[in-house]
């Protein structure tokens, strides 16, 4: 059930009506939890067992934290076992085949014989997202950032809440659980802001991402057949596609949650206007990058133990962040490229920026162009199915040489330029906020007209969100 489907609108209308009809906080949470399990079960009811298992583990770790004092060994053991359990489930379902194949191939290189053992498992939708949320709960409880929830329903609701369940944003326990403790009040709901955000997200996902996806698909399915200009256009279009797909989903998730009275953190902030890679990671998938920072980079030591250790921690975080997206060396390379850029930037900042005067706006434009160039080089590895395919596209992207003669329709370059201009404009003029500031009746008519316009630009055909696979 996708946010852009009619059945989701019907589902959401029913849940929305029911929740606001109920008065008690507990009954609302029960309804929302049941609706969330229904929402998840529509994909495949067998996945419900997994999310329940992860919820039980999280609840038990919370119970242990509530029972033992902060420094107690039992508490640490419970946390360790809980995280190991959650990651174990993630590992089996997402990474077993990858590591088994890698081990067998490595053994083969060493002259040893190791048979390929693979499990025929379906990757459960959104497992990476709710596993990280579960870890967030266990760690936050362990750190006493929040009190452990005695109610299993509360933990289940936090992990399964349907707007963020399958593709984020990754909501921190410390941010969300306090919101669960009091009944949401309709008077506090920013209806117009939430509807406007949903509409903006719908437009990004359905009207932009889904329309350019076919151009990206043909380039990445047979890059050798296309001219260098078309391959570069395909790579740039993929950058637009994944941004509009994922940020559009996040906008819709935040809008849905907002209409139910809950606030999620923003997940994107005009990432392609970043002046450098560090800035990019403050603007792209913010809920993941801040999660990795707080639950991985800083626990690894962060930048507290010298530059060498900082670089190692950075690279470890980025490579694991890449691997979080999928079990493939392409994702490892994607993370490595970002880690490498972060290390180079920090060295550059220390060696050059402290000694040379700043270049002003020219420096900012140059920095942004370089960042966009590097980010899209990394996207090649993120999108391509195999390493040889990635290298073939990367070679064209870097050298601007190709023997292919196929071309994409002429519209793609004006499209790229236009969408780039829209990205800049949207950063300055917050369209959603402007829309939400209209008087109620004007807002209703404006959104009605915009919804009709958006519907006309929805391509017909099924195309799921890219981030569901992660």
């Amino acid at each position: 059930m996708l946010f852009v489907e009619l059945r989701f609108f019907l589902f959401f209308a029913a849940v929305f009506g029911l929740v606001w009809m109920l008065r008690g906080n507990e009954s609302r949470k029960r309804v929302l939890t049941a609706a969330s399990y229904f929402f998840y079960g529509v994909w495949d009811w067998r996945f419900l067992g997994l999310i329940l298992l992860i919820t039980v583990i999280s609840w038990l770790v919370g119970a242990a934290a509530g029972r033992y004092p902060p420094e107690a060994r039992e508490r640490k053991w419970a946390l360790g076992l809980g995280i190991a359990g959650a990651l174990g489930i993630l590992g089996v379902f997402k990474y077993f085949n990858f590591f088994a194949d890698t081990f067998a191939d490595f053994a083969g290189l060493m002259g040893l014989s190791a048979g390929h053992v693979t499990l025929n498992l379906i990757l459960p939708v959104g497992i990476s997202f709710y596993t990280f949320q579960a870890i967030s709960y266990m760690v936050d409880v362990h750190r006493n950032a929040i009190a452990a929830k005695r109610s299993f329903l509360d933990v289940a609701f936090y992990i399964a809440f349907f707007p963020q369940l399958v593709a984020g944003p990754i909501v921190r326990a410390a941010d969300f659980i306090p919101q669960m403790d009091t009944a949401r009040r309709w008077a506090d709901v920013s209806v117009r802001a939430s509807v406007a955000l949903f509409l903006v997200g719908f437009f990004k996902k359905a009207c932009i991402s889904d329309n350019i996806a076919p151009y990206v698909d043909v380039i990445f399915s047979d890059p050798g057949a296309y001219s260098a200009a078309s391959v570069v256009a395909g790579v740039l279009l993929y950058g637009i596609q994944i941004y509009c797909d994922f940020s559009g989903y996040s906008d819709m998730a935040i809008g849905c949650a907002g209409l139910l009275g809950y606030k999620f953190m923003a997940n994107f902030d005009s990432p392609y206007l970043s002046a450098n890679i560090q800035d990019f990671w403050r603007r792209w998938h913010i809920s993941l990058s801040s999660w990795l920072r707080d639950y991985l980079y800083i626990p690894l030591g962060g930048n507290r133990h010298g530059e060498m250790r900082r670089d190692v921690n950075l690279m470890t975080t980025m490579v694991l962040g890449g691997l979080w997206h999928g079990a493939s060396f392409n994702f490892v390379i994607w993370g490595f490229l970002h880690g490498l850029a972060l290390m180079v930037e920090r060295t550059w900042n220390k060696l050059v920026c402290t000694r040379v005067p700043a270049m002003g706006w020219m420096g900012a434009v140059l920095g942004t162009a370089l960042t966009v160039y590097w980010v899209h080089l990394a996207w090649i590895f993120f999108r391509a199915r195999t390493l040889p395919e990635s290298l073939e596209i990367a070679q064209v992207y870097l050298t601007l040489q190709s023997n292919g003669i196929g071309t994409l329709p002429a519209i793609v370059w004006p499209l790229i330029i236009g969408l780039g201009a829209l990205h800049v404009m949207a950063n300055r003029v917050k369209l959603g906020e402007r829309l939400a500031a209209l008087p109620p009746n004007t807002f209703a008519m404006a959104t009605g007209a915009l919804a009709a316009l958006a519907l006309a630009f929805v391509p017909l055909g099924y195309r799921p969100f890219i981030y569901f696979q992660f």
Partner: protein, 355 residues
Amino acid sequence: MASLSRFLPAALFAGTFTICAALLSQGLRAATPMPHMTVLSDKLAFWRENAANYDTLFIGTSRTFYHIDPVTVAASAAAEGCPDVRAFNFGVYGLNGAELDWLVDEVLSAPGGDLRTVVLEDPLPQAHTMADTTNTRSRWFHAPAYWRGALGNIASYPESLPKRIFRTGIFVYGAGFDLSGAGLGAALAFPPAYTWTSTADYLDMDGYEPLGTIQTDNIRARRAEFLANPDGFTAAMARYGAPSDEAVTARADYLVERLRAIEARGIEATFYVSPELIELDRTPRIGAAVAEIAPDMSVLNYNQPDLYPDLFKRDQWHDFSHLLPAGAERLSARVGADLCRSLKRTDGGMTDAVR
């Protein structure tokens, strides 16, 4: 009053959305060229280029597309004494009433035509699934300009009232879907990533495709169902001549109106009823009703096992609606001969058709 005003924004949203969607859909439709439709577009483009090469045109559904081989028709007609028959098969699978009306206008207005005879098959009733209602072709023919034809098709088709209501509901869904404008802007603004080159081999065979030449999931499924259900053949044959309370007069009127419109252009119009097992209780009666209403008109009514037993042997059937190529050849030979007899009678001032 105050409580009602709470719903004003929602009403304004719905009203604005509906009006804007309808206006947008009409504006975008006007700016949108007709999309490519498999078989239909290819045959129409071919016809516009080659109309002068043919004097006989078969227009109908998949039972024309897969059943009428123009080469065999011409050879059989020649053997019967009509050496100059040059036929083209304009069968399009799933052709319904609104599509047929439009298609007849299009082919008859093609330049350079030397058309002498049009053989028309009864079109299908409106689609009966939601998926079939929202595909590119169906959507195009759910625009307001085609509503009259579609509703006339549903209203005249000899079916029970609940079935007609159901088909009307599906039609309303299709019309609403088209009026919503969904996807029209996207199709207009974003050209396909690559140009699809169709392999229309049937154009080399004057529009005929032996069933099974191109396998689709639907064709495979129909075949598998037929093979797995031998009793179904016997049951279908038993429906021939069985009493039915479905009135066919309205359908006959509907068809005669279309046949007369062709004749008004100075072209001989012939009504063709294909062998079809699942329609044995319906289409033979429609053919008879047309012959009764328009006794001067040629009616080639082959869905009659007692008259054409050679066409109703189980091993000649691909599925419950279509003949295998061998059966199609046998049918085409009979069509050619009957068509020639009909032409001779017409030329001689007699229009006593095969009935």
